[in-house]
Amino acid sequence: MPRGIKDKVAILGMGCAKFGERWDKDADQLMVEAFDEAIGDAGIDVSQLDAAWLSVAFDAVNIGPSGIPLATALRLPNVGVTKVENFCASGTEAFRGAVYAVASGAADIALALGVEKLKDTGYGGLPVRTRGTTYDMIGVSGSAPGNFAQLAAAYRSKHGVGKDDLKRAMAHVSVKSHANGARNPKAHLQKAVDMDTVLNAPMIAEPLGLFDCCGVSDGAACAIVTTPEIARSLGKQDIVTVKALQISTSNGWELQANGWDGSYFHTTRIAATKAYEEAGVTKPREQISLMEVHDCFSITELVTMEDLYISKEGEAWKDVLEGFFDADGKVPCQIDGGLKCFGHPIGASGLRMIYENYLQLLGRAGVRQRSTPPVLALSHNLGGSPIQNVSAVAIVGLADA
């Protein structure tokens, strides 16, 4: 059994650009905007960075290949920059690179930065792209809502949930996130919505209506990480450390074999189990203070509550409707507004989630600050589709927790 990452790495500083339709900004300007906040927060000089990881998913409408765009935008001191792409989980993947570099001792201070400029496509939703030569001949390159919508039919069928009940629970997910996003100046969408608006919105991919889908936006977020010792030596008092960092990748079992029923995320269950073990969490429903999960679609967030073992299987829809995940509920989910309100600039999202958890742990979340002081905060960052994906779970917490 690996010894894990718990408390070996601290977050020294974080930054997050304003997410939205940033018509007037290029990707490099968004990177600088997020980085300025993070390096100010860290209280270090750029020359102290030993290595960097850059997460970006869509080359074609973005910065192009390699780590060079990050090195150039930030004028990094010729350190190694690794570009990572792991579908929509790319942001957490960049974080993992930086955290592992520090944990190994290869770097004292490392940077993880994610950026995506999605609003240069000319249309809503994610860009259409190839999935590889073989897949393109035999696979269905459906839209993201189309791929995730399929969870609903399988979930209903497996758990005997009525169409209307599930649709209402999904709508509650979105209403809750919009209420949270309305209090976040960095969110793309800062407007509350009501149930009727969500339930009666145009259908995008049955049963997902417009408000069941997260926004599409431009954005950037970043983290500067180091060891807890260096963080203290730099004068940091309240230290947030990484408690667990797990990524699970589909190996084709869901897609090609017959065992998976389509109603859940096989990988999330594996990543969550390993993450709780790494962090020493035995009762997640009691121990996790708050969560930022990959709510690309309302149904994704709903079933993820079960895959993270917060809700019992088949009962997340009831927890949702009872307000368990609301900002004032037992375990708030998307207290910053989530992908729903931030939109999903792919490479940045995983880091944006950790950014909110970091703020909440340090009591710096302003009007959104959770009244009960949080101790352990979980982020879940998912890439791909339910049938074939990359699922990342990161738990950060107060160093002495």
């Binding site: 496509t121 939703g125 792209r129 035999i138 791929n147 039919a153 991919a205 049955e206 090609q256």
Partner: protein, 484 residues
Amino acid sequence: MTSENGILAYGAYIPQRRLQRSAIYAANAWFAPGLRGLSAGEKAVASWDEDSITMAVEAARDCLTGLDRAAVSGVTLASTTLPFADRLNAGVVKEALNLADAVGASDQTGSLRAGTSALAQALAGQSGRLCLGADLRKARAASEAELQQGDAAGAILVGQGEVIAKFLGSYSATVDFVDHFRATGEPFDYTWESRWIRDEGYANLLGGAMAAGLAKLGVSGEAIDRALIPIPVRGVPESLARRCKIRPEAVADTLAACVGDSGTAHPLVMLAAALEAASPGEKILLVGFGQGADLLLFETTEALKRLPKRLGVAGHLARARKDANYMRFLFHRGILDMERGMRAEADEKQPGTALYRNRKAVLGLVGGRSKTTGTVQFPKTEISVSPNARAQGDQEDYPLAEKRARITTYTADSLSYSPDPPVYYGAIDFEGGGRLVAEFADCGPEDVEVGREMRMVFRVKAVDELRDFTKYFWKAVPVTSGEA
């Protein structure tokens, strides 16, 4: 009796949608009020993802129901609407049918008579040959042809052995009678006056050929039990039959009211319909017309009763769905240039190398089965997907096209570009194992639910419009009641 030459099996394919002629007329009456006389009934229209190749594949599969495909030693695809001018269209059909490489294949074209000519040549060839006729007909908006024509495919397997209909002989005549023509690469026919075609073409040329043919075959018109005269013009088959002393009740329905004239395919579709209705011992006269005429004479046998049940013409007619959406029809035929949005701009370039390597999987829907664990999967991979045993390099070919499947997940996607939105797709699980995320065709909201039974069809996956290359793959369609 054991080595007769003749027909071994028949099959048909008729697309599901039946465009109402009244809808075509209603849209065009302001411009061409004279079309009113043709505005009754409906015509079969192929969907955007069908062409002469895919329809031929479906007719062929219907024809081969319950038969050993090793009986097929050659394939002929007759059509005047072949997707490729230089790529063996019948070769694509061969791959889709997962036939052995050691079969012959050829395309036959150039005239609406190509279907009957292919059949006559195959019967003369004394070998097991699958004769296919398919046409996806394209006519200008507000033309008579638009109302008269329909899309379909027919399939006749000929050979020796226990034939369901003995081949009694054929007669052909060739005359350069240009009732209509279409230059290479042009989209539409140019057609001469219908009165001249009726008098000179049907009455004199075809009528004369029928009389000469019957004489050559040594059979009197009275002896014919079913006369298949694929001229879907009111009164013409009846009048031709009268001249040849064929009994009026022997004249077969031309399917003009419910299918329309499917061109090259039509004689074969009518032959399939006749065989599925016939009793043993009936004489069937099949006629083809186009720059001359073909006559073929058959006599059904007792073996007809033993042919495994198939969808056939009747089964396809039963699964018809009425359609009044003329705009969609025009769009699917490429006649109406609609705003498709940026999502339609994706580059569909197909690497020829990859298609060749994977042709069995892509065109034949052949997966793999681990000899060690029995795990079925699509496509084959070096290491089996089975989580229970790490079996490597042990998969044998496992064809999935004829397996039924059930829906595990689904959606109706309104965001992805599709010429026929919303596009339905989802994961399906095959009987006996194997899973595929497939597009669903011929599908509406009432057809999808977890557990719903589906079957596979060969369709156009996408078209590379930059390089004019059609990409084919398999889709799932709901099994309708009546399809056992």
